[in-house]
């Protein structure tokens, strides 16, 4: 086994263990911290896959912003709502069945892809993935339209967040 494989197995264990803790922790704040651990594990997996930019985004956006938002949302919630509810609902067998079905479907889909199990070819030396992404973002035959649409999406999220936060005061 290579070093990268060992690192991947350690990371996968960390991610799965943390993810289980996220859904089983009784304290919502602890769940948020376990979520940060799981997200960090995913960042390391990106790094193993030589996707350094994705790893950076994973840390900056998911841990730096979204996990922080979860923590703030937890602090906004009333305490009695947070801690008095049962963690498992009546429909858990259905949920388990659906989860297993989705897992089976996804596994079948992934295994049907050509090239599963082969080692990915190394990135050509001298290629800067971030520079290539920057070019692709604004070139008309690549992603320029999704790029501009993304700004509209961000705009609607921004306006929506501000509108909702100021709803009560008027």
């Amino acid at each position: 086994m290579t070093g990268a494989q060992i690192l991947f197995l350690v990371c996968a264990g960390l991610i799965l263990g943390s993810a289980v803790m996220v859904v089983t922790a009784r304290n919502l704040m602890h769940a948020a911290f376990w979520l940060i651990a799981a997200l960090f594990g995913v960042a390391v997996v990106y790094a193993i896959l030589q996707a350094g930019f994705m790893a950076m985004i994973q840390v900056v956006i998911y841990i730096g912003a979204i996990a922080i938002m979860f923590i703030f949302a937890d602090m906004l919630t009333r305490r009695d709502v947070r801690e008095s509810r049962a963690q498992i609902g009546r429909n858990w067998p259905v949920a388990v069945l659906l989860g297993l079905l989705i897992l089976a479907g996804l596994t079948a889909l992934i295994l049907a892809q050509p090239g599963v199990g082969r080692v990915a070819p190394a990135l050509p030396s001298g290629l800067d993935p971030v520079a290539a992404l920057g070019k692709a973002l604004v070139s008309p035959d690549a992603y320029v339209l999704p790029f501009e649409v993304a700004s509209v999406l961000l705009l609607s999220a921004l306006v929506g967040a501000v509108y909702l936060a100021f709803l009560k005061k008027q």
Binding site: G3, A4, L7, A47, I48, Q50, G52, F53, I57, V60, I61, G64, A65, I66, I68, M69, F72, A73, M75, L76, T77, R78, R79, D128, V130, A131, L133, G134, K135, L137, V138, V144, F147, E148, A150, S151, V152, L154, L155, A157, L158, V159, A161, V162, A165, F166
Partner: protein, 118 residues
């Protein structure tokens, strides 16, 4: 190629160690004499008023959401900025449109007073 991350790994390791050492040394060598006054939540020296965890104002949440949005913009700015000179005028116009659309939201948030703490 993974060795490129050795510096980051070392940095994280040192950060965790520094935090862990402070906690472990305190737990190992600190005397533990619990008195009622010591077990009280600390509130600047006075007796605490009300529960320790009370609800935070929605303003924190708004700041967090705005931070996410501006953080995501960085994801788009960074790859663009790296090849900005090669892209020429066309790339500049593309980014100007992108920013112009977002500026609408920025001015809306500003006008609504979302960027102020009151």
């Amino acid at each position: 190629m993974l060795l490129e991350y050795a510096a980051i790994a070392a940095f994280i390791l040192v950060a965790v160690l520094v935090g862990a050492i402070a906690i472990i040394l305190g737990a190992l060598f600190g005397p533990r004499k619990k008195t009622e006054a010591k077990m009280m939540p600390y509130e600047s020296g006075m007796n605490p008023i009300g529960p320790g965890a009370r609800r935070m104002p929605v303003r924190f949440y708004l700041i967090a959401v705005l931070f996410i949005l501006f953080d995501i913009e960085i994801v788009f700015f960074l790859p663009w900025a790296i090849v900005f000179r090669q892209l020429g005028l066309f790339g500049l116009i593309e980014m100007a449109i992108f920013i112009a659309i977002l500026l609408v939201g920025y001015f809306y948030a500003w006008k609504k007073g979302a960027l102020e703490w009151e």
